[in-house]
Amino acid sequence: MQPIHSSRRILLPVRNWFIVLTLFLALLLNLIPFGRLPGIPDWVALVLAFWCVHQPLKVGMAAGFVLGLAMDVADASVMGQHALAYVLLAFAAAGWSRRVLWFPLSQQALHVLPMFLGMQLVMMVARMLSGAEFPGVLWFLSSFTATLLWHPVTYLLLTPQFRPEDKDVHRPI
């Protein structure tokens, strides 16, 4: 396992409890009541997309669905709104994982931006079809914040998997 496919560093295997812990912490971050402040990223979507790209066999649509239901209750929104959006996000992220991982981090961020925007669009369509008000263009700012956070979050979440880089001239690999 490498950080990205063109990297020469080899990662330690991921621990399952670490994935669960980070998703849980993201959920806690999402519960912080910022009200209608624009530009606050959807942490759950960010971490979910990260794990779907890096561990598509372990984290997928089921995790997205469960986290979505939790967010629906926490946000006082309609049941199924976040669930639908996160399931689609997980599908896209896991499906594109083979492609995304070939790119350096800045271009990976450009790949996940349309996923986040699509997720917000799905939520907006689901709610506006039922007669809710338009939340304003600034609401979409949170996708761009999440995209900017892709680079630091990658390093943060991969830290436990990095091993010290020891240059051993006698080792074949």
Partner: protein, 306 residues
Amino acid sequence: MSVAGHAPPPFFKRGPAPLVRLAFFVSLSLILLLADLRFHTLEWARLAVATVAWPLQRITWMPIDAAGDAGAYFSRQTTLLRENEELRRRQLGTANLLLRQQHLELENKRLRALLDMRARLPAEGRIAEILYAARDPFSRRVIIDKGSQHGIAAGQAVVDDIGVIGQVARVFPLTAEVLLLTDKDQAIPVEVQRNGLRAVLAGAGAGMMELRFLAANAEIQIGDMLVTSGLDGVYLPGLPVAKVAKIDRDSSYSFARITCEPLAGVERHGLALVLGGRLALPPQPDDAPSIAEQPGRGKRVKKKAP
């Protein structure tokens, strides 16, 4: 099953194909969406999850609380002094009204008793603090710190010191959600204070409200005060609601487009008063047994010892 009778190695087993899983979860989500939007049948699940998640939610308020405390700590003394002065002046200004209010209420009661009318229910209330605005960007809701444990029920009106804020929409054990007047789903029956013209005021989003279904030539002016008419049995009559901000009388439409702005600090945070339900039964006469003495359902009536 392969030809040789061996099961395929386990690392090829990845469950159903991604598209199958996608279809399954998407249809499940859509069913949930429909069930919640059209039939409102998922309140029990929401209640259960919210109750379990309550301690977590309490933890996540800490950063916001801490930020608020820090802000209050560093707020300058002059600000506080000015606010104090302002409050004292307002109190003096309203003292006159308050004193007369008591007098008038007593007088009113006597007159009503004379007229043998049902005494109007006193406006009972419960003070609640608005904790935060719900994160959902598609609706206007706030969370207050009183719930079903404190006797809050869905449908109660919520006011602040200036006017109506909204209505309790959803009740959890320790908190409740208040749907603000500016939400698109919220409507409130009002009348124009100046001439008693009755209408329905509905949220228009973006912090504004709209007077609906008033004829293009209705007698209404910019600056008119709108108060609750009390026709719905939820809000007490006479509570200030909004002020007319803009009137657009286009003769090509049969109705005027009337935009109003709320009076109360609907989008601000602070203290609010949850009014008791208005449709409570009138107080029982003294000779009837009180509720506490009545046997509960399913219990045997004990005969009193002679």
